[in-house]
């Protein structure tokens, strides 16, 4: 009996240099297995979208290889387009389509039989609670609903790999959960999912494995818990500062901090928890802070330490 095909996506040592000499991808290697939800995290300009465009055959790498199962996606962009389903970060161009039409035509374009496409379309519309908009024109859909329709377009007849670039942008919290359920479901069906995002908190819950990339290079790869293992023994102390209050002098036990607006996030050693709570209580007592919370560190703390990234106007340090 023939061996079943191994449909792993293999990105090996991919290099992409743009005309302006920017090395958007600088020797990236990552593998995504069938059924796996794989997160690709990194700040703006890290090279995530450049990598995606090379996988789906829109850009050609300057070095390295990309393959999906037996197919060389660099040499055969036609195969790349057939085997990959793609939800881009920009909204889908469906203003003059009814939601269900946009989904049906995409299914038809992907080669699906009409009955199958319609059945899958109805399942997904129900699962994401989009029923009330099924006959609404794209131009009248809110950003979040349009995003979800785009998700259904990308997954109504998924290829071997589904690439989702910031799928939950503008989507309400309830339907975000429904969307993540469907992403997990794709994995259960054996589809590989490559999730591109900067939303670390959501990614932590949704992915099996993830890579953090910055400046075109892989900084770390692993499961969310293995990524956090370096943070074992540390805790996160979050202090909501009173509006207008300056960042207080930080005591030596604060190993890392970020302030976004009034939200001061610090990472401390767990042996210093009692001191830290005392310090936070003192800030509340002095009226400098409104409340505080102590918890385990999250993937976001790891991410910020690795990328040194400032997504919002923020002050960081360690």
């Amino acid at each position: 009996m023939a061996e079943p095909t191994d449909w792993t996506l293999r990105v090996d040592q991919v290099v992409k240099v743009f005309n302006n000499k920017v090395r958007a991808n600088d020797g990236l290697t990552l593998h995504v297995e069938p059924g796996e939800v794989y997160g690709l995290l990194g700040p703006n300009g890290a090279g995530k979208t450049t990598l995606v465009k090379q996988i789906i055959g829109l850009l050609k790498p300057d070095g390295g290889s990309i393959s999906l199962g037996p197919h060389d996606l660099v040499a055969d962009p036609d195969a790349a387009r057939q085997l990959c389903s793609y939800l881009p970060q920009a909204q889908m161009p469906i203003n003059s389509f009814r939601a269900r039409e946009a989904i049906d035509i995409t299914g038809m374009i992907r080669g699906g039989a009409s009955a199958l496409v319609k059945r899958r379309r109805d399942e997904l519309i129900d699962a994401l609670e989009l029923g009330e908009w099924r006959d609404t024109f794209g131009v009248r859909l809110s950003g979040g609903v349009k995003r979800l329709v785009g998700f259904v377009m990308a997954t109504v007849l998924p290829g071997r790999i589904v690439i989702l670039d910031e799928p939950t942008n503008d989507v309400d919290p309830r339907r975000r959960r429904l969307l993540w359920d469907q992403v997990r479901h794709l994995g259960e069906e054996g589809v590989a999912v490559l999730l591109v995002t900067h939303n670390v908190i959501e990614a932590e819950k949704a992915v099996d494995r993830l890579a953090i990339i910055d400046e075109g290079r892989l900084l770390a790869e692993g499961t969310p818990s293995s990524m956090k293992s370096t943070d074992r023994g540390r805790l996160r102390l979050q202090v909501m500062m009173t509006p207008g209050a300056d960042t207080p002098d930080l005591l030596p036990f604060v190993q890392q901090y970020t302030r976004v607006g009034n939200n001061l996030m610090t990472v401390i050693d767990e042996t210093e928890a009692a001191h830290a709570i005392g310090w936070a209580q003192e800030l509340v007592g002095l009226g400098l802070a409104e409340e505080y919370a102590l918890g385990s560190t999250t993937l976001e703390d790891v991410y910020i330490r690795m990328t040194g990234d400032i997504e919002a106007p923020a002050v960081t340090g360690s």
Binding site: M92, P93, S96, G111, R160
Partner: protein, 255 residues
């Protein structure tokens, strides 16, 4: 559930073509009727305006205007609207999504040519009817109208397509397409004989595609007006090949 095997062959091509045609027509659904209407009114209106402007139009001039305007109604969409739509896709960043769709590239092009025919044909027909009613023209419609219309629309659409894909900057594409329509209407031997143009411009038009478009259409519906239509077909064919080659090179060459 998944699309797991690679598709190929004529059935794949045909299905993809039909799907892309449905995509294109649905995309343009909001503007399609109004575009056909405006183009028809513009075509018919142009024929009548010439009469109003000059009072008495000689038969030869009437023949040129009435047949020339057909070319304008056929190629405006392909040469002007198409580059602008594609420029718009680049600005709105939907271009990448559309080119990531799993269809043979040629089906997207043929779907677009078909869309152009669907928009151009009613406008062309109306302009012709208006011209016949107004000027009582000695028309002699032959079956050559079919290849002439198809070749004119194919070439016009592919030139616009090549332009839109080859020029990276959407704003530049828009400017070029505006200039093109200006040149076609005002400075091409489409609505008048080439000998009315300055010598250098007339010579340039021997190698540009616009005069051959007009000659091919004119030869198919008149008698004895176009002396050598074979050269026009050759020129149009050459322009079609060049634009297809440019488009294929641009779309095939991934950066």
């Amino acid at each position: 559930m998944t699309s797991q095997t690679l598709r190929s062959g004529p059935a794949y091509w045909w299905r993809s073509y039909l799907a892309m045609l449905r995509w294109d027509l649905t995309s343009l659904r909001m503007v399609l009727p109004i575009t056909v209407l405006v183009l028809s009114l513009a075509g018919g209106g142009f024929v009548l305006a010439v009469d109003l402007f000059f009072g008495q139009v000689p038969e030869e001039a009437a023949l040129y205007v009435s047949t020339g305007v057909l070319v304008i109604t056929l190629v405006t969409i392909g040469l002007v609207l198409a580059p602008q739509l594609i420029a718009q896709q680049k600005i709105e960043k939907t271009y990448d999504f559309l080119w990531s769709l799993p269809v043979p590239r040629t089906t997207a092009a043929f779907s677009w040519i078909t869309t152009n025919l669907i928009i151009g044909l009613p406008a062309m027909t109306l302009a012709l009817v208006v011209a016949v009613l107004r000027y009582d023209l000695p028309l002699h419609v032959t079956p050559m109208i079919l290849p002439a219309v198809l070749l004119v629309v194919f070439t016009g659409t592919m030139i616009g397509y090549a332009l839109a894909h080859a020029v990276a900057q959407p704003m530049v594409t828009m400017v070029i397409s505006q200039v093109l329509i200006f040149v076609i209407i005002g400075f091409s031997p489409i609505n008048f004989p080439a000998d009315q143009l300055p010598g250098w411009l007339a010579s340039a038009h021997e190698w540009l595609p616009f005069a051959p478009m007009a000659d091919a259409i004119r030869a198919a519906i008149t008698k004895g007006v176009v002396p050598n239509v074979a050269r026009s077909y050759l020129m149009l064919g050459a322009w079609a090949v060049i634009s297809v080659a440019v488009t294929a090179a641009v779309l095939g060459r991934r950066k």
